[in-house]
């Protein structure tokens, strides 16, 4: 196996440097399937215990590339790395196109730092409550527009805005909202399940109050 530490995030996700957000989304989903424990495509390829490491590596790559700011910073680092290693002619030759790019950017600065920074400014702990405001804050900080999320997830941007504004009355049935939330969360690099769970708790509370109100008015 090629040492994972030497693959840059683009290689890890198997996308070109010019990949759009949508391509990154797609590549990430394919990679999740490819490196799942019961993956057929991975059969006989991975050594024991390797698949979880690969998955972590993917997660890191995705979190960085899916976040516009982090990606910009990362691209800058890559560029500097390439420039630094350019003077050696042998390396330059292999540094050109797709497959062999990795040789030129061997031993990148540890990318964990980037993701760690992200986490620090946005503590993503188990007990974090994800309300609309919080989601919006994370989204904005990561430089992602509502329309970008809509483009990737195919969820109506109006609903995405309603989610952030917590306009529960205007949102469709809970089952849809849950789905939207997961797409939204994945898109901005948050844990979809945790976000959905936390947000839906608020949603349910509010809508049960609403129903009670309705009944009492009738009664």
């Amino acid at each position: 196996m090629k040492p994972l530490g030497e693959q840059d995030h683009y290689e890890a996700l198997d996308v070109p440097r010019s990949a759009t957000r949508e391509e990154i989304e797609r590549a990430y989903h394919l990679a999740r399937v490819t490196y799942a424990d019961d993956s057929l495509a991975g059969y006989s390829v991975f050594q024991e215990g390797e698949a979880p490491l690969l998955r972590d590596r993917l997660e890191l790559a995705y979190r960085t590339l899916a976040d516009a700011d982090a990606r910009r910073a990362y691209d800058l680092e890559l560029e500097q790395e390439t420039r630094r290693s350019a003077p050696e002619p042998e390396i330059e030759r292999v540094a050109a196109p797709v497959v062999s790019e990795s040789f030129g950017v061997a031993m990148l600065p540890p990318p964990q730092v980037l993701a760690k920074d992200l986490r620090d400014e946005d503590p993503d702990e188990d007990d974090t409550e994800y309300d609309g405001q919080r989601l919006q804050r994370v989204r904005v900080r990561r430089g992602i527009e509502i329309d970008e999320i809509a483009g990737v997830t195919k969820v109506n941007p109006t609903y995405l805005r309603f989610i952030e504004e917590e306009r529960f009355d205007d949102l469709p049935a809970a089952v849809y909202v849950r789905g939207f939330l997961k797409c939204y969360a994945r898109c901005i690099g948050l844990d979809p399940d945790r976000v959905a769970q936390s947000y839906m708790r608020r949603y349910d509370e509010r809508s049960s109050k609403r129903k009670r109100g309705l009944f009492s008015r009738r009664g």
Partner: protein, 303 residues
């Protein structure tokens, strides 16, 4: 263009026959060549029950003129070189004879020459796969097939390398690397490149060229679900990430009982059922073969 894939029973012959028929029905002049002397049956898949001539005649030097080996098939524009043998004791072609054969095939007056390869990773099979940078690897959605397909592509890759490397030391190193459990810890082409560059820097560039020129194409046969269809993308991705092999996913063919039925009727499926789903999928694959390749630049051209 060779059609291989390592494992037996994945449908190499089925894919070769139907792809050949699809291209022929599209107006291309196609020659389908069975090079599997051990298990020849491309002729049956194409509806030629008793070929009069065969590769065996060429091997035994009864026939020197390769164009004379061509058999007509029931399909217009499609000719066949069968591999039936008059008796089981007939010899295998020598390496030199094989090269001569391939050279003659290249000179045939045809738009496409498809080779139906035998199973396994025998040197003969690999060498046939080597005649073209962009041979087809057929896989079915089963672990056994996937495992053998990776093995096949790796073996082909290393065989190419060995053939291309000049210095004796480097060739030895490549041979060593082919054994997965080698002592030097060479696990991937990347490890190998590093070792080669230390040993003979000039060979490093050659290695890189070889690595990039080898671009097999993947066809998933017998797909029953969306997951099976996606397998091709995953395998292609794994090849790129773990073996430094740029394998393009050409498409899939659905699992269908028509395949068996058409075989019974001794006709390629796309000819017997031109409106079936499988025919549509084969047409898609054929179209993709005719298109220039999408990913990474390279010289385009089929055999």
């Amino acid at each position: 263009m060779p059609v291989g894939g390592g494992k037996g029973g994945v449908g190499k012959t089925f894919v070769a026959a139907n792809l050949a028929a699809t291209l022929a029905r599209g107006g291309y002049r196609v020659v389908a060549v069975d090079v599997d002397l051990e298990g020849a049956n491309l002729h049956t898949a194409l509806g030629v029950q008793r070929p009069r001539r065969s590769l065996a005649d060429y091997v035994a030097e009864r026939e020197e003129d390769v164009p004379k080996l061509l058999e007509e098939t029931p399909i217009e524009n499609l000719h066949l070189v069968a591999a039936t043998r008059p008796n089981l004791g007939s010899p295998q072609p020598s390496h030199a004879r094989r090269i001569e054969f391939v050279r003659a095939l290249r000179q045939l007056d045809a738009d496409f020459v498809l080779l139906d390869l035998g199973a396994g990773t025998d040197r003969a099979v690999l060498d046939y796969f080597m005649v073209c940078d962009e041979g087809i690897v057929v896989i079915t959605p089963e672990p056994t097939s996937v495992e053998n397909a990776y093995g096949f592509m790796r073996a082909a890759f290393y065989r190419r390398l060995r053939l291309a490397m000049v210095s004796e030391d480097v060739r030895k190193l490549v041979a060593l690397a082919m054994d997965e459990r080698n002592e030097r810890g060479i696990r991937t082409p990347y490890d190998l490149l590093r070792e080669i560059e230390q040993l003979a820097p000039a060979e490093g560039g050659r290695f890189d060229r070889i690595m990039r020129s080898f671009r097999p194409r993947i066809v998933v046969n017998g797909a029953r679900s969306a997951e099976d269809i996606r397998l091709g993308f995953s395998v292609s991705s794994v090849c790129r990430r773990h073996f430094a092999i740029d394998a393009e996913y050409m498409g899939y063919v659905n699992h269908t009982d028509d395949a068996r039925r058409s075989l019974r009727a001794l006709r390629p499926l796309v000819d017997a059922h031109p409106r079936s789903d499988a025919a549509v999928y084969f047409a898609r694959i054929a179209r993709k073969l005719l298109e220039p390749r999408s990913r990474s630049a390279g010289v385009e051209g089929s055999v």
